[in-house]
Symmetry: C2
């Protein structure tokens, strides 16, 4: 937690917040904060700054906060991820958020098991929690836009051609001939398949929508590792 | 598990192996393998190929294996990681291995808590297991060289200048002025600090040993995310 995320409901008065629960525990046991200490804070979808510890109780603390900094810029990247299995979803979402991805679409694909869509990890509450963890890690406050899309075909055929217009659109697909572009500064859309890979027909639909397939070499990476490697390579 | 790792002791006869335990469970419940199915296999630190399921019992299976492929090349990268906290160590080690890092040094640093060195995750057995998981993920068989180094100073002052000779040596340090080099083809040494960062004195010691500091921007990434992003950027 390199930034303590604040929410509107934490404010006792303008510039004064009270923290309990997870954030209090973290600040007291990991930061080992004492009265007068200064912590990095930010308000969700707002500005960042510092909070000075003005009160420290057994189960809560209060901070005087000054929010005078802008959060870091996002990457101009829309990440389209075939919905990962639940165990992997949290890590992938937090990692993509920490990297500064601007928009994340969790998309269905043939090799996404139907049961994944019923996972309790897909609740709004859990998705938000993972994103907040990623923001707190990276010292950012701006939630990425997040969409869940159950219907591959209508999304890819009807919506995606408009969404990728004027962006560099890439689909990671082992065995493609295209190398991965580097040092890109224009808006980019990047599609990463499920654990078993995209079907050839799915890749073809993405190509029809304006994507170019890229190959990442012989190694098969976990989705969160692949996302980070591609972000490092492309931007 | 994109490759099933085989060990010498799995062989019943040349070209014939018997699997029980973790690998059997995975093959039967995830791959849902049946008699005659073909699986990607490889022998630890050796060649890769296919295994045909020739026998399927309740708690074991047998494969006829043909090992006729070389594993993918490693990245010419030595990764020097300040020992991560135990919870993070497994993921970082598996991720670095899956990315193809050739050599990994887990190094002490001022902000590495002493207790980390006593973690049961540092047993030879666990370290090997995490590396094997990374190899199985990436379809590779070659263990990276792994060293644990308890003494920062003697390592950095006495050994490191020789180890980094003729390599591009980079130390990730927020606030440095150097941008991260890209598309490097020469051997590289990359040092990544602990969660609280390197001390300035530690960075200076690394500079004296031949490293150049690089800055990764305002976002603070988890160690496994930072490793993947840097590998994507540098190579």
């Amino acid at each position: 937690m390199n930034l303590i995320m604040l929410f509107e409901e934490d404010f006792l008065a303008p510039g004064r917040v009270r923290l309990e629960g997870r954030r209090f525990s973290h600040v007291s046991s990991v930061h080992r904060a004492a009265l007068g200490d200064s912590l990095t804070v930010g308000i969700l979808n707002g500005r960042m700054g510092v909070g000075i510890v003005t009160r420290l109780d057994q189960d809560a603390l209060e901070l005087d906060v000054r929010l005078d900094q802008d959060p870091p810029p996002k990457l101009p990247l829309t990440l389209i991820l075939a919905l990962p299995r639940p165990k992997v979803l949290n890590r992938a979402l937090a990692a993509a958020t920490s990297l500064g991805v601007a928009r994340i679409v969790l998309l269905n694909a043939w090799k996404v098991e139907k049961s994944y869509w019923k996972s309790p990890r897909l609740t709004q509450e859990n998705l938000m929690r993972q994103q907040v963890l990623g923001l707190e890690q990276a010292k950012d406050t701006m939630l990425p836009e997040l969409r869940l899309v159950r219907f591959f075909r209508s999304f890819v055929e009807d919506e995606l051609p408009f969404l990728v217009k004027d962006t560099l659109a890439l689909v990671a697909h082992p065995g493609s001939t295209g190398p991965c572009p580097r040092c890109v500064s224009k808006p980019t859309t990047l599609a990463i398949g499920p654990e078993g890979g995209w079907l050839d027909a799915e890749v073809q639909s993405l190509i029809n929508a304006g994507f170019q397939p890229i190959d990442l070499g012989p190694r098969i990476l976990r989705v969160e590792t692949a996302v980070a490697t591609l972000v490092g390579r492309i931007f």
